[in-house]
Every structure is written in C-alpha cells, then in structure tokens.
C-alpha cells in the first residue's frame, strides 16, 4: 500500500494529465457523426497498440518492426475463443495478452540470447510477424485464408463486447483501455524494472557492469509490450467483427503501430496518443480533401492514392524537420521562446 501511495505521489503530474486527457476525449462522441466516431475508435485502438510498442522500443530501446505479431495474436485469441468456445471477449482480451506475452518471451529470448541489436533485431521481429502471418494463413483451426467472422450478438451486449446500437459505448471502452494502458506505462516507468529498461537503452554494457541483467530487463519489456499491443489487437477484432491473417499480421499493421509513437514522440508516455490524434486528423483531412476538393483543385477529386501521397510527403517532412516527434518539437519550440 505504501509503495502504491508513493507511486501515486511521484507520478501525480502524469495522473493529472491523464485525467484531463480522458475528460477531453470523453467529449468526442458529442456531436460527431457515426463515421467520425468509428475513426476515433480506431485511432484509440492503434494508440493503445502504439503504447505497447513504445514500452519495448521507446523505453527499452529495442526497435520492433514486427509488432503485428502481438496485435494479431491478440485478435486471433479473442476471435477463436469467442467463436469456438463462447468465451467472453473480456476474458479473451486477457488471454490474448498472455499468449502474446509468452510469444514475446520466446521470440525475445531467442533474439536477445543471440545478441541481436538495432537493425538486425528489427528484421528478426519482422520475420517473426511474417512467419505468424503465413502460418495462420495455412492453419485450418484459425480459418486459414478465409479468416474468422465473429457472429453478431444482436444489439448491445456487454458480455460479448458488442455495441452495434450505441457506438459511443464502443468508443468509451476503447478510451478506458487506453487509460489503463497509460496507467500501466506510468507504473512501469516509475518502477525499478522501468529504470533498468532505460539504463539498458542508454548503455547496455554500462548497465550490465552496474549489476543489471540486460536480458531480464529486455524480456520484461517485450512481454509487457506484447501484452498491451495484444489487448489492442483483441479489441480491434471486436471492432471489425472479422479477422484474417493479412488484416492483423500484415506488415502494414506493424508500420501503423510504430508510426503513432514515432510521430508523437518515442519513449514518452503520451507520444502514442498524440501521434494517433495527429495522424487520424491528418488522414481524415487529406481523405476528405481528395473526396471533396475546393473548386480550384477540382482536378484531384476522387483520384485514387493521392491522399496517401500527401500523407507520405508529410511523413518525410516531419521526420527530417521534427526528428523527435510532435512532443519533442513542441518542447524545443517552448525552450526557444524561453517559456
């Protein structure tokens, strides 16, 4: 109890920000269309997946290019346990997290034991995700190439985590999961193992010479990271009501997951959420611009792929101009103006 109180006291500023952010995001469903709300829900799901990625790649410094592995394991666990064994998706979310954490321990143990670092570790994580994608694509138990369609419960059902009639609840559940994810990250960052992760990121050899076991710190990071991302994947399955191997294990999922924290700020508590917000707004603006352009730009109306080109250009400019993400850019901006 005392440790918990200390933790709360030490991170009171982070907790205040969390309360404020949740309060603001809770207002989103007021006065937006059903479509916009589902975009916002998806943004929260990928923010959560990014929060998980950030634990391994931001805090422990092990760049993962294959977090689709955990996302997909979470999605498939929820879909399989619900459709085959009628297990509530709530339980499925936790089970998926555990499956992903165990997979993370195995994949991490193999990779770290053999001393993979930097680009090589990134390529190995990519290979693990691709192997899962190809395996699930050929495995009849999980629907092989057809995938799994999750049956509708009909209307709203808390036990089967479906909110067809009130998408607001679906949004609030995603928001609650993100809040839990942020809480977990605050706890990890303030904990002793969290400090060890940061030490390993900064200088692995120096950390080891101080008596830290780098392997253990990295394995802890990868299992927590996998768990959080898998919960996001599990909820994504319930959001789409469908999974298949390309959809949840595909390389573009890995990219989508790591894009948010990098745009927001790698290794910061709020980076993934900020990045998700920025990218969703950007994506919607460019998409609607191409769908319904102002009269001077009439020629671009409905041109396939143009929104992606704009997106790519912005991405390249952001990385060259603001290499430490929106939050880092903001911080530098404030420093320069002497605020």
């Amino acid at each position: 109890m005392i440790r918990l109180r200390q933790l709360v006291a030490a991170s009171s500023k982070d907790l205040q920000i969390l309360l404020a952010v949740v309060a603001i995001l809770a207002l989103v469903p007021l006065g937006v269309s059903r479509f916009t709300l589902s975009v916002a829900t998806a943004a929260l799901i990928f923010a959560l997946a990014g929060i998980g990625w950030n634990v391994l790649s931001g805090f422990a410094g092990q760049f993962s290019f294959g977090h689709a592995a955990y996302f997909g394991l979470g999605a498939y666990t929820v879909a399989v346990t619900f459709t085959r064994y009628s297990i509530s998706p709530w339980v499925g979310l936790v089970l998926g997290g555990l499956v992903a954490a165990i997979f993370g321990l195995l994949a991490g143990w193999i990779s770290f034991r053999f001393g993979l670092k930097g680009a090589y570790f990134a390529l190995a994580t990519f290979a693990f995700a691709e192997l899962l994608r190809l395996t699930f694509n050929n495995f009849d138990y999980v629907g092989a190439s057809i995938g799994i369609t999750i049956p509708l419960a009909g209307g709203d059902s808390w036990s089967s985590l479906q909110f067809e009639d009130t998408p607001e609840i679906r949004y609030f559940v995603a928001l609650a999961l993100v809040a839990l994810g942020i809480l977990a990250v605050i706890a990890v960052k303030r904990s002793r193992i969290g400090s060890r992760m940061l030490a390993v990121r900064e200088d692995e050899e120096a950390a080891a010479s101080l008596g830290i076991n780098p392997l253990r710190a990295k394995l802890f990071a990868i299992s927590i990271s996998g768990f959080i991302t898998a919960v996001a994947g599990g909820y994504y399955a319930m959001f789409l009501m469908f999974v298949d191997s390309d959809l949840v294990f595909g390389p573009f999922i890995s990219v989508a997951i790591l894009l948010r924290p990098i745009v927001g700020g790698v290794g910061t508590i709020w980076g993934p959420v900020v990045g998700a917000a920025v990218l969703s707004i950007l994506g919607e603006v460019t998409r609607s611009l191409v769908r319904d352009p102002p009269s001077i730009l009439q020629a671009i109306e409905g041109v396939n792929g143009l929104d992606q080109v704009i997106f790519g250009v912005i991405l390249v400019v952001v990385i060259i101009r603001a290499p430490d993400g929106v939050l880092g850019w903001f911080r530098r901006f404030r420093k320069r103006d002497g605020v």
Binding site: F114, A119, A124, N138, V255, I262, G312
Partner: protein, 329 residues
C-alpha cells in the same frame, strides 16, 4: 583450419546428396518437377541477387535500412514499360536509360532526404525510407491506376541459330522449361554483379566507398568527401534496381506494388549473404530463389515465403554476419 574442414564437410554432404537422390524412387517420379523448381529458383534467384546487391551496398556503406528499395524498382519498371509502349524500345535496350536514370534519382534522394538523417536513430531512418516508398507507390497509383499491365516480347518464343547449336525457346533443360526473358535476366544480372564487384574492389572509387563504409571519420581525414561517396553509393544501389526493373518487365505484371515484394526478399538475401558483401548477395540471391521454389515443392499448400523466412531467422540467429560476411558483432 576449422573453416576448411567445415567447407570439406559441406562439400561432402552435397556430393552424397547429389549421388544418392537420383538413385531413389522419389527421383524417378518427380525429377521433372524437381528440375523445374531448381531451374526456376536459380533464374529468379539471379534477379534477387541483383536487387539485393544494391541494397547490400546501401546497408553496408550507409548503415541505412532502405525500405524504399523496391519502390525504386517500381520506378524503373514503369520507365521501361512506358518506353516500350510509347516508343517501342526493347526492355533490354532501355537498360541504358533506366540505369543512369535511377542513379540520378538515387543521388537526389540521398542528397535531399537521407543525408539530413544520417545521424538520426534507426527508427527515423527506416520510417523516412518507408515514407519515400509510400510516395512513390501511390504516385504510380495516381498516374497509372492500379490496373496490372504486362508486355509481350515478340521474339520470346523464337528459334535462335547460334551457328554451333540452335536454341528453340522456351528451352527445355532436364525436362524443365526455361523461358528466354528469365534466362536473359539471369545472365545480365550475373554480368552486372561481376561489374559491380570490379567497381568496388578494383577502382579508386570502390576503395573510397569501402573506406567510407569501414571508417567514415578516417576516410574524411585522408581527404575523401564522405557525403559525396554516400550519394554515389545510394545512386549505385538505385542503379542496380534500375537494371532489375528493366530485366523483369517481360515476365512480371506491372503494378504500383510490383517492386515492393522485392524489398523483403532483398533484405533476406542481404542478411543471408552478409551486409556489404557483393559475392554474398550473389550467393544469397540464388539460395533464396532455390529455397522459395523448393518450399513450394516439398511443403505443398504453403506459400513460397514460408521457407524463406525460416532460413532468414536461422541465419539472423546463428550467423548474423552472413554466410560470406566478416564477423562484426
């Protein structure tokens, strides 16, 4: 000594397999399919080698994970395609345009996009090249739509009288079909690999590139303009996919993502062969070509990439310096 005895053991194993397999009943039933898999694997493997050499140079010299490599190939594929459709230019002649064109584009990308992030963390570099790939692929989608296109070479099914022998395409080799475009792609890829090897090993420019790869600061001290070498290196890397793009045009569907599939394969080959190693990329490309075709043969119903990724992981874990690379950990 240990290295030599291991090589001998491998050679012995290969000889035993080569002698034993044709004796078996399995061979009697399947040797045509097997021959086809080996021939197809080697032919496409040559193209993989060429693509991977460019990536290997960039990875080895600049230490950049270039995820735009396949997208650069897409540019070359479309350039060749347009030259063929609009001016009737033979894809093999368009090599003389795509190679310099891609060199210039590569130099430009290095100069304006990648040089500014040379000291940035690995995730930023990776994301930057990914952003470039997104731009290129979707620009292709905007300009040419997603409709797959292909071309037909008029002489792909001709007879060729070479004086000594007459070659009738598609050629049959141990029962396996060898198409002319794939054979040309394979041979030209080998030729370019040799040229690139000589460029890196035997010229002054090559020495400067190797110096910049091993010790950038030292290279700077002895008067090498490392930034310029980086630009040239990226340009040469892009020129490799420029050549590959023209070579695959006669047997590949042209689409905005046509080159993207080569990116991953190229990474596998680079890691397999050892980064920065041109002979490694050559051997690695052939091995991966064989692996993908043999996976399909021996693991029915699987996709060809399953075996490729298993090999990839095994190499990453057990021999991250690659089969021909120097140990550097």
């Amino acid at each position: 000594m240990r290295g030599r005895s291991r090589t001998a053991a491998w050679a012995g194993l290969v000889v035993v397999v080569a002698v034993a397999v044709p004796q078996s009943a399995w061979w009697d039933m399947n040797h045509t399919v097997f021959a086809q898999a080996v021939v197809s694997g080697l032919l496409i493997g040559g193209v993989y080698s060429l693509v991977a050499m460019g990536l290997s140079l960039v990875f080895g010299v600049l230490d950049i994970i270039n995820f735009a490599h396949g997208a650069l190939m897409t540019i070359a594929i479309y350039a060749s395609y347009l030259l063929f459709q609009n001016y009737g230019l033979d894809p093999y002649l368009s090599l003389f345009i795509t190679i310099p064109l891609m060199f210039i584009i590569g130099v430009g990308i290095q100069r304006f996009a990648i040089n500014p992030v040379m000291d940035a963390p690995v995730h930023n570099q990776l994301l930057l090249t990914l952003g470039i790939a997104i731009i290129i692929e979707n620009l292709a989608l905007v300009l040419f739509t997603g409709t797959p296109r292909s071309i037909e070479l008029a002489y792909a099914r001709n007879e060729f009288d070479l004086g000594v022998v007459t070659l009738d395409f598609p050629l049959r080799l141990f029962g396996a079909v060898v198409s002319l475009p794939k054979l040309i792609a394979f041979l030209v890829a080998l030729l370019l690999a040799g040229a690139l090897y000589l460029l890196i090993q035997r010229t002054q420019l090559g020495a400067a590139i190797r110096a910049s790869a091993q010790e950038p600061e030292g290279a700077e001290l002895v008067g090498i303009d490392v930034d310029r070498i980086y630009m040239i290196t990226f340009g040469v890397g892009a020129a490799c996919v420029g050549a590959a793009g023209s070579l695959v045009l006669p047997f590949l569907f042209v689409s905005p993502t046509a080159g993207a599939t080569f990116t991953i394969i190229a990474f596998v080959v680079v890691v397999l062969g050892g980064m920065g190693s041109i002979p490694g990329a050559l051997v690695g490309g052939l091995v991966i070509g064989l692996t993908q075709e043999l996976t399909q043969l021996f693991v029915p119903g699987s996709t060809k990439f399953l075996g490729v990724f298993v090999v990839f992981l095994a190499v990453l874990l057990f021999r991250p310096e690659g089969i021909l690379g120097r140990v550097r950990r």
